[in-house]
């Protein structure tokens, strides 16, 4: 295997969540009964004509801009003769950046364009469901610049992140091998995929081995389209589907050219959110948090925005990060909601951190305050006052309790005096219990130590 270089190019299809389909007013509703989301246009009834969905074009302009593409000012539509029209070859020369093995890599994009989705069929019967027909798809085609299955997955994740995509992207690799050092591309195969990233990796790894075996034997790889069979772990040629390679593309006569003015592009630019990779970099440099933490905190845009705001308000990014990654995430997972739907806001977290900072409550109490805030949405100060959770910091009050505890627990007290310093832990615990956790633990420690040392 060392003598070959792997060359992979990826075609990604992303479904756009526009309110209506690409050429008609139908809404695609996931889970609807078969053929319920149709009309004469997306059914291809005689005499119907397509009319383009403006939102779909807007979405693709934004996606193109987000990936650094040059948007062509005028795009035409092509018919791909396979019954349905294809769409504008809008964008060229973009690139996607992603991190791989600690380095920032970029992959050039060949093009991004809009397509409409196809009909789905029932493989066991000859029934067709036209619900998905006409849903807008963004097709993103990379140059063959990826050199391992892992890299390909990192690229897919980066694209998914930029698009803020929910659900599974359809990623189809074109994979070939060539002798190390060679500049010519080998014969490639295309692997159809609709499923998980794991299956995608397995498929690519198998295909690399398969092609290497063929080349080692001195034979030639056949250019074909393959399916990955997860049960056997092998790629197999798609049989019987004699897709005409000749799609007889010609310009779509039923649609006029799409003109994308400079104004349109200028208006779209500022509305683009900060991209994940850039945001991660900023978190690491500005907030001095680790790359792993930055990765976690930029997992979704709402999460990143929550952290950003909380860090800004409190001035304590690391503390915020810990709270978010720990207790808050636990609460979100248990409740099965996303951060944007939670009642807790950055303001809540900020206030909580302030209360700990000025010793109004202990860290431990703060956890239960957070639980309460998560449940009720009340601000921490209000919770602390309603429930009387403020720490006891009055030294004489603590001393009273300490003396009481020491008197009630002569054994451990003596252990401590005899040298078992650890025994103080038990005593601290007892004081905390007596104060229902509200005594300031540091003060308790100090006073206990003092009391136990004298005497």
């Amino acid at each position: 295997m060392e003598k070959y270089e792997i060359v992979i190019g990826l075609e990604i299809h992303a479904e756009l969540c526009t309110e209506s389909k690409l050429f008609c007013n139908c809404a695609y509703i996931f889970g609807a009964l078969a053929n319920d989301c149709t009309c004469p246009i997306c059914l291809g009834m005689p005499g119907t004509l397509p009319v383009i969905n403006r939102r779909a074009v807007e979405f693709s302009v934004r996606a193109g801009l987000a990936m650094g593409c040059e948007i062509t000012p005028s795009s035409k539509f092509d018919r791909k003769n396979y019954f349905y029209p294809d769409l504008p070859k809008n964008y060229q020369n973009g690139q996607v950046s992603f991190e791989f093995e600690g380095e920032l890599r970029t992959v050039a994009l060949r093009r991004i364009h809009l397509e409409e989705d196809a009909v789905t069929g029932d493989p066991t019967r000859s029934f067709m469901d036209f619900n998905r027909a006409g849903v807008p798809l963004l097709e993103i085609v990379s140059e063959p610049e990826l050199h391992s299955p892992e890299e390909a997955i990192a690229y897919c994740r980066a694209v998914k992140e930029i698009l803020e995509y929910k659900g599974s992207l359809r990623c189809e690799p074109n994979l070939s091998l060539r002798p190390k050092g060679s500049k010519e591309l080998g014969t490639r195969t295309e692997i159809k995929n609709k499923n998980s990233f794991q299956e995608l990796i397995d498929a690519m790894e198998y295909e690399v081995k398969r092609q290497a075996r063929i080349l080692d034997a001195g034979e030639e790889v056949v250019q074909e389209t393959l399916l990955f069979d997860a049960s056997t772990g092998k790629t197999v040629a798609m049989r019987g589907k004699e897709e005409a390679d000749d799609y007889r593309y010609f310009p779509e006569p039923d649609l006029v050219h799409v003109q994308i003015s400079d104004e349109w592009i200028e208006e779209s630019q500022p509305t683009l959110p900060e991209l994940p990779a850039a945001r991660r970099k900023r978190f690491i440099s500005d907030y001095d948090i680790s790359p792993d933490n930055a990765e976690f905190l930029t997992n979704t845009r709402p999460l990143a925005e929550f952290f950003d705001e909380a860090a800004r308000l409190s001035g304590e990014p690391t503390t915020c990060a810990n709270w978010i990654m720990g207790d808050l995430t636990r609460l979100l997972n248990t409740a099965e909601i996303e951060i944007q739907d939670a009642k807790v806001t950055p303001a809540h977290l900020n206030e909580l951190i302030q209360l700990i900072g000025d010793a109004t409550i202990s860290g431990k109490i703060a956890k239960s305050v957070l639980d309460d805030a998560f449940e009720t949405g009340k601000m921490p100060k209000q919770i602390v006052s309603e429930k009387g959770l403020a720490q006891i910091t009055d030294t004489s009050e603590i001393e009273t309790i300490v003396l009481q505890v020491v008197e009630e627990n002569p054994g451990p007290a003596q252990d401590y005096r005899d040298g078992t310093k650890k025994a103080i832990g038990f005593l601290v615990g007892q004081v905390m219990r007596a104060t229902r956790g509200k005594a300031n633990p540091q003060l308790v420690n100090e006073i206990l130590t003092r009391v136990l040392s004298t005497d």
């Binding site: 004469p40 059914l43 291809g44 009834m45 005689p46 005499g47 119907t48 004509l49 397509p50 009319v51 383009i52 018919r79 003769n81 019954f83 000859s126 067709m128 004699e242 390679d245 000749d246 007889r248 593309y249 010609f250 006569p253 039923d254 649609l255 006029v256």
Partner: protein, 483 residues
């Protein structure tokens, strides 16, 4: 009848008879309500504006009660729309074409669907899967095509107007051969939504009528923007009612003499010259124009149109609608079903054009044929644009010969195609064109006179047409067997 004594039946008769408008009646009653309801309080809400608007709508139905025949490639909801093909035998569309909705809103009455060459591919209506239509002027001759049924229906007095479609001459040529007026509007003037597409960049819907004024009246209803057709112009159509009577003083008419050199029947040439002379007598200026690329129009058309058709007709696969082949045994798959359905459902001419079009678009030939043809197409358009700097309309015969006998050219597709020499340019360039009756041959067969105009300038064509019609001695001629 005194207003106080108006009855339902009385009002109906008065409005229908034109003695009263719906608005007058409505206004009368609204005024009465205003004058009396202070004392009576019979109304909780009075709909003054809405009622007057509705009354105006009722009055403004320009085709109220006018029967219209519709070519069978245009969708009529719930009514068979076969495109003259077996593959759509019995097919009933779930929606009306935009033009049909507009006709109905204007008060027209659709009396039926007319026969045509299958999928509008043909010049004689002999390619209909349901048998040919005959020319009312001579029943052993073709009425022209592909809107043969539409032209024959008007010529024989079966309807005062019909709507047909024109992709390479299919309104104008049958209009010429049947002695009626046929108008192909500018591409984009009339919505194509609901028209079973043949060649998407060439198809247009238009009227066939006895008089030019009638053609204007029907076009006025059909024309206008449609959000369902991205290729339809967003500009509203002009008011065509003020064109008449048509005046041609100072109107410049160009004739491409070179184009008339070969293959035109002498009687057709004579009639053409006579029509020009008549217009000239009325003050029009006739001159020559040069359209050097017009000689390529037919081959360009027979590359572009079949190419688009091969794609447009791909949807007829037996899955969702229309004919589906019966398959013997479970072994047959989808491909076989497609192949059998289409082999059974399509006629010879349609198959010919699908094969031609597929070939012209295929890898390795696309540039040499389709792209090349599209380039020549723009050269043809440039010729016309230059001509229109000097003239207001270009005149030519509509067809090189009058109607030939049924069966005469059916085995010679090329001879059939060459008959389109004068009509295809208007489709390739998108320009509006009209065919006007220009008299009869010795054998009493109609001849057509054609005018091609500037984009969206149907008005000039109608104006000139009306002038010709008023002067023409043949305007009252009718087919003897159907007078």
């Amino acid at each position: 009848m005194a207003p106080g004594a108006w009855t339902v039946t009385g009002i109906r008769a008065a409005v229908a008879g034109g003695d009263l408008s719906a608005r007058e009646v409505c206004a009368h009653y609204l005024d009465r309500i205003a004058a009396t309801d202070g004392r009576l309080h019979a109304f909780t809400t009075v709909l003054r504006e809405a009622a007057l608007a509705r009354a105006d709508e009722v009055d403004a139905r320009p085709l109220l009660g006018v029967p219209i025949a519709v070519k069978d490639v245009i969708c009529t909801r719930g009514v068979p729309t076969t495109a003259g093909s077996r593959i759509l035998a019995g097919y009933r569309p779930p929606y009306d074409a935009t033009v049909v909705s507009r006709l109905l809103d204007a008060g027209a009455v659709i009396v039926g669907k007319t026969n045509c060459d299958e999928f509008a591919m043909g010049s004689s209506t002999e390619h209909s899967a349901y048998g040919p239509t005959r020319n009312p002027w001579a029943l052993d001759r073709i009425p022209g095509g592909s809107s043969g049924g539409a032209a024959a229906a008007v010529a024989a007095g079966q309807a005062p107007a019909s709507i047909g479609t024109d992709t390479g001459g299919s309104i104008r040529q049958p209009a010429a051969l049947c002695g009626v007026v046929g108008l192909k509007p500018t591409y984009g003037r009339v919505s194509r939504y609901g028209l079973l597409a043949f060649a998407s960049s060439l198809d247009q819907i238009g009227p066939l009528t006895w008089t030019v004024a009638d053609a204007a009246a029907v076009l006025q209803v059909l024309a206008g923007p449609d959000p369902r057709d991205a290729t339809a112009s967003t500009e509203p159509p002009p008011d065509l009612s003020r064109l008449f009577p048509g005046n041609v003083r100072g109107t410049r008419i160009g004739v491409p003499r070179v184009a008339l050199a070969d293959g035109v029947d002498p009687e057709v040439l004579d009639a053409f010259g006579a029509a020009l002379a008549m217009l000239s007598d009325r003050g029009a200026e006739v001159c020559d124009v040069d359209l050097p690329h017009m000689q390529y129009a037919v081959p360009v058309y027979y590359l572009v149109a079949p190419a688009e058709a091969s794609s447009n007709l791909a949807r007829y696969d037996g899955v969702r609608y229309g004919h589906r082949a019966k398959l013997d045994g479970a072994a047959a798959g989808v491909s076989e079903m497609y192949a059998r359905t289409r082999s059974e459902g399509f006629g010879a001419e349609v198959k010919r054009r699908i094969m031609l079009g597929t070939y012209a678009l295929s890898a390795g030939y696309y540039d040499a044929y389709y792209v090349h043809a599209q380039r020549v197409r723009s050269l043809i358009r440039n010729d016309f644009d230059r001509a229109f700097a000097a003239v207001d309309a270009v005149a030519m015969p509509t067809t090189p010969t009058p109607a030939f006998r049924i069966g005469e050219r059916i085995d010679d597709p090329l001879a059939m195609y060459l008959g389109d020499v004068f009509t295809v340019s208007a489709n390739l360039t998108g320009l509006p064109a009209i065919s006007l009756p220009a008299g009869l041959t010795q054998a009493r067969l109609p001849i057509g006179f054609q005018l091609v105009g500037r984009p969206f300038d149907e008005a000039t064509l109608l104006r000139i047409g009306d002038a010709l019609e008023r002067d023409a001695p043949w305007s009252d001629e009718r087919p003897p067997a159907f007078a």
